[in-house]
Amino acid sequence: METSVFYHPSMAFLAFALVVPFIPTQLWLNKAFRGALALVAPLVALYSIFTVEPGTYGAIQYLDQSLIFGRVDGLSIVFGQVFAIIATIGAIYGMHVEDRGHFVCGSLYVAGGFGCVFAGDLLTVFLFWELMSIGSTFLIWQARTKESVGAGFRYFLYHTVGGLFLLGGLLLKYKATGSFAFEGVNPADAQLYDWLILTGFCVNAAVVPLHAWLPDAYPRASVAGAVYMCAFTTKTAVYVLARGFAGWEVLAIAGTIMAVFGVLYACIENNSRRILSYHIVSQVGYMVAGIGIGTAMTLNGAVAHAYAHILYKGLLFMGTGCILYAVGTAKLDKLGGLATKLPWVMVWYMVAALSISGMPLFNGFISKTMTIAGAAEHHRTILALCLEIAAVGTFISVGIKLPYFAFWGGKKEYKGEIKPIPVNMYVGMAICGLLCIAQGVYPHLLYQYLPFPVEGHQFEPWTIDKVLNSGLLLGFSGLAFYLTREIITPHAKLNLDFDWFYRLIGKVTMGAICWPVSKVDDVWTEVYRTVGLRSLIGMGDGTSWFDKKGIDTVVDGSAYTVRNIGRLGAKAQTANLQDYLAWAAVLGLGIFALVWYFG
């Protein structure tokens, strides 16, 4: 099937987000209709990506710049493909949700992700980068809990700062080179602007120590929203890093630190969704390290791992989401013995848990080993060893600790009520789980899409020694868990992370601004009371006389008008920053649509 046009997936998702608010409530509450409608955009995306020919599509002129919305090549296709798959699965998993907000925010977020992947220049990347940041912030608020409000604000603030690094970098780059071109940068020629852009990307990739937004926000997102969250933000960042910063040594080191750091924190964490969040940091670390090492094999490993990771991490969040949905908490100290009550949740969770651990027959095995072997073959022995250490920790936390304390024993069982789980959530998990297994058994299903040509021998995961080594590594990690199971029992504690420093920066900044302002205010209040007030009273007497005699008759009519306008304005001013942000996003998208249409 050849096609010379490219149906940009973002357009389908933006259109869906635009339509949702206007659907009559009766129709919307019909689950079949809602589900079918929510599937349209992901299916369009799937069709578009499986039929598109590589090339450059959708260049438009704006402010004397040529913006490219459709750079379709091997690298963008493979990311677009897995984005389309997880968007489809996420739509199925979230079909039962009635809140329109979930669909609107989710679609804007997904549209942003696709937009970044197919963007051919930095300005377009930035545009969709910000759309993603807004969409995901609202997705966090969709949880509609008190703690999600605070987490959403912190998340937004943080990503705004990251976005500003990116903006600063691309503007400086434009000033220096006269173009917004988004191509690979040779680390030897790195300029300040490249470092700024890299920093912006690293915020979204959750590179330690810029990562703390992730374990702060993701566990607080809504059940269905978290499935999108864990797929798009960090993996879009992995994509742009692979595109722009392959072979940067700093990323090789940073990625390896991420891989180990995330695992260490997950080891002591109690909230199951936060354990998974720390494991996003860790798993993205493998990808960042692969990109930093920069050989064809490690780059392919990074891409393959991103692909596999999106599937199994989505499934992990779906599984723990089911627990949260059914039980009302995801904290391990409150769970226990759920295997007999939610057996299929346990089964699909375990498929994902074995995948992330790199167990043979599951897709993590074919992607993780590629990155590690690539690092080792490139004689990065210490990095490869650290990645193996992270693999041990991954299996202990996600593969054993979490399911053991949630589904099995070790402590008292959960005895409370269990809310029935909608069928569509099971369907979503089953599709995702089967894909994880299929890729693990037939690596070629995934390998055929890897974009970087490898010279010499191709990587083959299914050899006896590799299978045995993985089995030994995981088996004896399991033994380590068995021996330390009393020690690792989770406690209801909050573990300090780098966000302690972020908050400190916030407090100091606020203090530095507030203190002088309050001093000036004190003085001003005093001056006003002694001087201003008296003269005002005098003026007031004069005007009141004038008012009674002359104005009343004229002004009353216009006063009514003003009052009515004021009421309308007051309605829009809800004093909720979330609402203002939503209006700003709507306005921005509206302007963007006009420019797109007329530009």
Binding site: I268, A339, T340, T381, V392, W408, G409, L472, L479, A480
Partner: protein, 86 residues
């Protein structure tokens, strides 16, 4: 009602945890034995040319990681859950 069927099966398995533990140890033993003829083809780390390297690696790293994090690190960084007031 396949869900209950599976749930019952899992309940039965859980009650037989001692058998599963034996199976687990046997599997570990078999893996180590198999590692003797089928040792790593292209060793990268030096010691991985010897059988049982990955077994020892997994065990030692796992033990050290859990004990280090839970016993030494966590007491320093653990706070009450409402520490930030949210």
């Amino acid at each position: 009602m396949s869900q209950n069927g599976l749930g019952d099966l899992l309940a039965k398995w859980r009650d037989n945890w001692k058998t599963w533990r034996i199976i687990f140890f046997v599997v570990l033993g078999v893996l180590v034995l198999l590692n003797i003829p089928f040792v790593t083809h292209h060793p990268h780390f030096g010691l991985d040319k010897y059988p049982g390297f990955f077994a020892a690696f997994g065990l030692i790293v796992g033990l050290v990681m859990v004990i280090l994090m839970k016993k030494i690190i966590q007491p320093f960084i653990a706070r009450e859950e409402d520490y930030y007031g949210d």
